[in-house]
């Protein structure tokens, strides 16, 4: 299961973390606490998106 999910989860976590940080910066917020939170939130959201992506690849 993990071997199946990790190759999808890791890039997704990276993409969503970068997207979260990029969105926050674009909206004019540069405080480190918010940027870290945005990155972490992106990574956590990848947990939910991974099953959808796995399903889409089937």
């Amino acid at each position: 299961m993990l071997r199946h999910s990790l190759p999808v989860f890791l890039p997704l976590a990276l993409i969503l973390s970068v997207a979260g940080v990029a969105y926050t910066v674009t909206m004019g917020h540069l405080d480190p606490q918010r940027l870290v939170a945005a990155a972490l939130t992106g990574a956590v959201l990848a947990l939910g998106v991974t099953p959808l992506m796995l399903r889409a690849r089937e």
Binding site: Y23, R34, A37, G48
Partner: protein, 161 residues
Amino acid sequence: MAPKGYSRLQIALHWVVLPLIAVNLVFEDWIETAWEQVEHGGPALYDAGALAHIGVGVAVLVLALWRLGLRLGRGVPDLPAGNPPLMRVAAHLGHWALYAAMIGVPVVGLMAWFGGSEDLAELHELGKPVFILLVAGHVAAAVWHQVVLKDGLMARMKRAG
């Protein structure tokens, strides 16, 4: 072909999401202090209330996406036979509206929080009456099936099939 019932995981996710949504609806003011600071241009304040509201919202979002994956992958059981077409349409619309709310409301909330957008925050607040209406409709429909139609629909969310 549709499965005969919901899986254990689908049932568990259904019942886990319910109290999470209830917590964020009832204790929505948890995030107020932190939001006021963001609204006035200050740095985001991660006090216990803000962390709880955001954490619960993210959990609802992740679990809803997980459920959606299961719904698209494994499928869900058909509605009981003999339901009028209008009721079937209403059931489908209601379920998809709930998914849209479970995904859309937290996403808009996160965008409001991280972007400091007042407009998005107002849109996020609209999620409360939307959720109350959808959940009330969902519960009313389940009770209608159980009490009036007596088709055993509610048992499908108790026992895996």
